[in-house]
């Protein structure tokens, strides 16, 4: 058995790959792995990646070949690589590029392959058959009109990714230039990796580019890259954002950093329905319908203008119903921006086939060096329940138990201590129970934002918080994920959870920005000891550590009330 102890990669026969973090080769191995494997979790000492057909197809579409991938594995692997993995790599990579889609002059869409058996196989598949107009010869098949997206979806589901070279229908022109000095009077230019990403995506306008996903961790400047792409394409653009705040952020950035003005940018949201050369909308609006069986009224937005480019922000959050609409507009350039390709609903293959393959990964090193990775320290502070409350807790029903634990009065002292500790920082306090939050607001003289706070108030307060005028802000989590949170460098969660695990970790990643390089952002989770609070915290603990955050635990001493770590 081969054994190279200094190597950091361990390839296992179940397609998982372990990456040792404290090896000297760690960083170069990480960059190598990211090109053909997906990061699943990254607890401190061993990160776990996974090879899947999709990750391999993404690699193939970026130009890697099987032997190249295998060589990378062999370079960094500590032990022998299991035979079945080598086989899988060769097998799956080989499948990419065997099927291409092209457009003839007549406008017909043709699937071609050099492999006659492959054509025979796919034409015999029932799902695919329905989408085929006619078989032209042993190697070419004509696709039914309007089925460009569907057939790609169907083919990838049977294991054959299609290289879509059928080109695009140009949209209406748009004159857009990136400013060198922003409206806020600061110098501006795309960073090098941002320019790289744009180039790779645009591919000089050829059919080799123009559709795909750019994977960028939080803080890497997705919006800027989106703007860079828009500058290249120069056509009417539809931007889909996750929610209204993100929508406003896009608009603000566009106004600040490009030649576009208010008359060029339209907002299509719950409040306004303004369609302009650049229109920004939200996934929410698109998937809105009055009743369960109604139509999605706003989906038509896709067809209301001759868009040249459609930008899907946070494409991993693209709701399933929107895919259908995406399938129908395959003639447009499509840009997906995301921090991760991993979806909770497993529809990664739809992203691949309908939006496009992964085009670019930002190297970690670049981001780390520039300080754009949010470094956050998580601390769980366990606070005992006062004696008086213990009996009440013991006899309460499950829902009430949670409330009693969450509203533990002893938490207030801890909050005060933390505020004192971080008197210079932007502190965000997050909770679930309005009463508790109101008490906090009173005690610490900070404004509260709830689901009921009107948008303009919210924006004003956020603005103050961002500018440093306001140092403390209290936010309620009641209105689900709809509320977006501003950046802070200290966050204190007094109760409640964020939602799905991935959501929560993402949120943390987004809101926590260190004040300056070399510092840490802090996340405190206040948890009542030996209660349901602590049980839920265990879950959070698990996925935060798996996201790679450092995690500390402190036990509050009930008598003294100080936070000496045990």
């Amino acid at each position: 058995m081969v054994y190279k102890p200094e190597n950091p990669v361990i390839v296992q026969s179940d397609r998982s790959i372990l990456l040792e973090t404290n090896s000297p080769e760690f960083e170069s191995a990480r960059d190598a792995l990211a090109s053909f494997a997906e990061l699943i979790k990254s607890p401190e000492h061993y990160h776990t990646y996974r090879i899947s057909p999709l990750s391999l197809w993404n690699a193939a579409s970026a130009g890697l070949n099987a032997e190249g991938i295998i060589q990378k594995l062999e370079t960094y692997s500590k032990y022998d690589i299991p035979q079945n993995i080598l086989q899988d790599v060769r097998d799956y990579v080989a499948r990419y590029g065997r099927l291409k889609m092209i457009k003839e002059e007549s406008g017909d869409l043709i699937l071609v392959s050099d492999d006659e058996f492959l054509i025979t196989e796919i034409t015999h598949n029932r799902m695919v058959q329905q989408l085929i107009e006619v078989q032209l010869d042993k190697r070419r098949v004509q696709v039914k009109h309007g089925m460009r997206g569907r057939i790609k979806q169907a083919l990838i589901k049977i294991g054959y990714p299609v290289e879509d070279l059928a080109g695009y229908i140009e949209g209406d022109p748009l004159d857009l230039r990136v400013r060198e000095i922003t409206v806020a009077e600061r110098p501006f230019a795309l960073r090098e990796y941002q320019r790289d990403a744009v180039e790779v995506f645009y591919a000089q306008g050829s059919s080799h580019g123009g559709s795909g996903v750019l994977v960028l961790p939080c803080g890497a400047g997705k919006t800027i890259i989106g703007i860079g792409v828009m500058e290249k394409v120069r056509q009417h653009t539809l931007i889909l954002a996750t929610n209204i705040t993100a929508l406003r952020q896009w608009r603000d950035e566009l106004k600040d950093k490009t030649s576009l003005t208010d008359k060029d940018i339209g907002e299509y949201s719950g409040e306004v329905k303004d369609i302009r050369p650049v229109t920004i909308t939200t996934y929410q609006i698109l998937t809105y319908r009055k009743k369960k069986d109604d139509e999605f009224v706003h989906m038509e937005l896709f067809n209301l203008q001759n868009w040249g480019l459609i930008v899907y922000d946070e494409v991993h959050l693209l709701p399933a119903p929107v895919f259908r609409a995406v399938a129908d507009i395959q003639g447009k350039r499509r840009l997906g921006l995301t921090a991760t390709l991993v979806r909770e609903d497993g529809k990664e293959d739809d992203v691949f086939s309908l939006i496009g393959p992964k085009k670019y990964d930002v190297p970690w090193k670049v981001l780390e060096k520039q300080g754009w990775i949010a470094k956050a320290l998580c601390t769980e502070i366990r606070i005992p329940l006062p004696e008086a409350k213990r009996l009440e807790y013991a006899v309460a029903d499950a829902k009430a138990k949670f409330r009693i634990a969450s509203e533990n009065p002893a938490k207030f002292t801890v909050v005060r201590n933390l505020i004192e500790q971080h008197s210079d920082d932007n502190i965000l306090i997050i909770g679930q129970y309005i009463n508790q939050l109101q008490l906090l607001a009173e005690q610490f003289d900070a404004p509260i934002i709830t689901g009921k706070t009107p948008n303009k108030d919210r924006e004003r307060i956020y603005g103050d918080f961002k500018n440093g005028v306001l140092k403390r802000l209290i936010v309620s989590k009641v209105a689900n994920f709809a509320i977006d949170l501003p950046d802070a460098n200290v966050a204190i969660q007094v109760s409640g959870t964020f939602g799905s695990r991935q959501e929560e970790a993402q949120r943390l990643g987004r809101i926590l920005r260190p004040k300056s390089e070399g510092n840490f952002a802090h996340f405190y989770s206040l948890v009542t000891k030996d209660t349901k609070d602590q049980e839920f915290a265990a879950n959070r603990q698990l996925f935060l550590t798996e996201q790679g955050y450092r995690y500390k635990i402190i036990i509050e001493n009930s008598e003294k009330g100080d936070n000496t770590p045990v």
């Binding site: 179940d14 035979q83 079945n84």
Partner: protein, 918 residues
Amino acid sequence: MKLKSILRTLPYKTLADILDFWKIQPPTLDDELKEKHRQIIVADYLYPRLQNRQFFEGAYAKLSEEDKDVIFFLAIHGGDLEKEEVLERFFNGDAKQFDDIVAQLSSKGFVFIDDLSDEEVGAVLVGLPEPYLRYIELPSYWEGYLGNFLKDLSTQQLKTMAHTGMKLQLDSVKKNFLLSRIRKFLLNPAKLKEYINGLPANERQVFNTLLERKGVCVYRDLLDVGYQKRYDHSKADYINNLLAVSGLVFTAVHKPNKYNNLLMIPRDIYYSIENKFKPDRRSLKDLDTVSLPGRESPPTIVLDNSNSFLRDIVVFVSFINRNAVRTLSNGGIGKNDLKKLLPLMSANKTVKYVSFIALFLINKKFIIGVGGQWKISNTFIKWLEDSQECYQDVFQYWLETSEWNEELVEGNTVHTETSPSSLVNIPEMRKLVLKNIEIIPHDRWIDFGAFVESLLPQIEIDIPKRGSQLVLERNNRPNTLVVESVIAETMYWLGLVTLGPQNNRDIGRLGNRLSEAHERTGKRLKAEGSQKLRFFFKLTDLGSFVLEGPYLEPQKLFERQSRKVITPLNYDIREFTVQPNLEIITPPDLNLKSFYHLNEFADIKTVDVMSTLTISKESLREGMDKGLRGEDILKFLNESSRQRLPDTVRHLISECSDKHGEVNMGFAGGYIKVDDPILLEELKSQKRIRAVIKDIVDDKLILLDPDVNVKKLARELQRLGFMPQLDSEQVHLTSEGRYHLSLTKEDLYYLLGALQLILAVEEELGTSVTDDRVAPLLERLKPDSDSSYNLHFFAETIAKGFYKKFRSAMKKKIGEATTKYKKQVSRLITSTSPRALSKYSFSGPNPSKKKSDIKNMIDFAIDNSFELEIKYLKSSDEKVEEVVEPESVDSDKLYAYCEKRDSYSVYRLDRIQQTRLL
């Protein structure tokens, strides 16, 4: 060729090269000697030395693979071949390559050219000196070629064969010449064909029989088996003739009893015949029918257990440790429990694998059945110290045991009903398999099917089934499947071979079938299922290591350092990684003891190249229940962890150890409850009670041990003067010597009722009917006594109750009977008395409007002579109402008497709108 003569033909330079290559000290030579003499001296000097095994092996080991291939090719065919044949078959006609390589090999002292062209035209031979053939061990699938057989014959025998049998004209009588000529003759298809056809009829018949047996057969099987299983020995003559003279049949394996000799048609002759007399022009690669044919690529599915086997054993034992696994009555472990273990084992394993491990552990008494449950013995943990010794033990167990027999589909002979006596001698079988794998080059993929075919003759001879041939039970499997089990199961499990099955479905089926065509259900599969499972196998590094060592003496396996391979199974790493998300990741060579220790308080998630375990509250609790302490766990993790232990893990463990023991649960027997704590103290001081106290609660409650006989204890307490009140006890003796009865209410009533009855009887009879002992009780219960019981009341209640029950039973009985009779009666009544029924007896609606109801009503009216009032729609569409007496119905018409009109009329049924019974 003869070594001495060939050496003498070599130039001096070549001899010097040979000396050099073989690292033989050159002889001291007089400088004045002429070259010619020098040459002879050195040749003769070399002659004995080249035959020395040590020198030979030393030089042989230095040869390249290509060199060895040439030597193999020559050896297969007996050592000497004509140059043309070698040129064609081995060098593809490339004369230059031939010259180069042969020259090289000559300088290395292995292969020489023997030019006999002065004796016969065109006879140039190339070959190996005879003595070398002794040292070159050929794998079984390369044995049996014509040349190889011929070389073992004496020159005289060859001469006889050539002259008498083949009628060849030969000029030389040199052995290698004869050999080569005979070969040339027999391997010329045209001549061969003619020759065979020219055989005497009887010999021809024997030869054909052999052909039918694929060219391999035991001697006695060629003799006719007569009617009463007696052999026909006349055939023996023909056989012997074939052997002695024909050159077509040879004895491949000699046995003490010649009837057990294995006879064989040389493979190349057989090949020629089978391929319609095509000449055999196969190259070396083609002759290698066992290892992977060059055209095919290596298997895509590769299974290797060499790194997981010992870890799986550890996982197995820790499972037993943490779960209550019951022993079966036959001393084994239940299949369901084995199945539970399967997900914890390394990938691609079957229940049989787990069963094998179980058998080993039971045999070694590492797990012992105690009180119906399996427990771990302390010896196991000690055993884990040295992983290599562990392996030696398992390997030895496997090699020598008959407890596991690969002939059985289930494998396990101990915990089943099959007696091993009729099974194959499995240790011998295993050794035979090992021996045959050993001599195949270790880096080759071997085609199992071809391999086992080459073994079958050996098995037939060397490993007969025990017991009579006629007693082959249902469980006996053909030899191919037994060997398949040995290789694809036990050897694979032990990490000796890698398997290359063709697809994933085959993985669980290999070795696991009753026969080629039948699955366990005994049903014949469709054609595709009845094909043999094809697969390849190869020695692992571990397997190679083992087979290079003294594998028949397992305890010495690791005593030496292998030249080629790093000594495997050095499980000496003691460090692993603890992650903040509560995962523990261990390297493949983690010390087994540490690995076991981890399994005591953490759960296995996967066993792959690395193993991953997780710690949770539950797993920690299970560990602590078995006696582990939180601080010990922390200490162990701190020592073994490569980095500082994460907070999350530290806190989880301290919390669990704090909580562990906060709530205690267990089993208790009876209890003693007192009102007075002083009384409790007194009771506690009683020796009899002190011995059985489990726990005391709050000074008022003593919990007793589970197995205390509470009644007995209560009686003893009585004797001591205490007056325990035993609940649900029905009778006890009071301190005054009286009986204290506790009866249920019902029992009391019955007793009193019975007594009342007695009293009544006595009164009736006027005499006493009971004896004196009951008298006082009766006295007390008499109605006019001043006792507090009113007997009448009780008696009455009882009597009432009795009567009530009687009545309801009667009612039920009568009711049932009544219903039955009611029906009968009503039928009777109806048939005799027309008007016994009233109109209310009609089951349908009255009046009836629906067609079906109308019809029914009409029938009813006819049957019972009722009058109907009908609402009728006349043909003129006039609606009328009439009272009629229905007489009969004919298809769709009603025939009825109308009193008013005093006539019979016919009514159409479909015009009757309503009928009403009057």
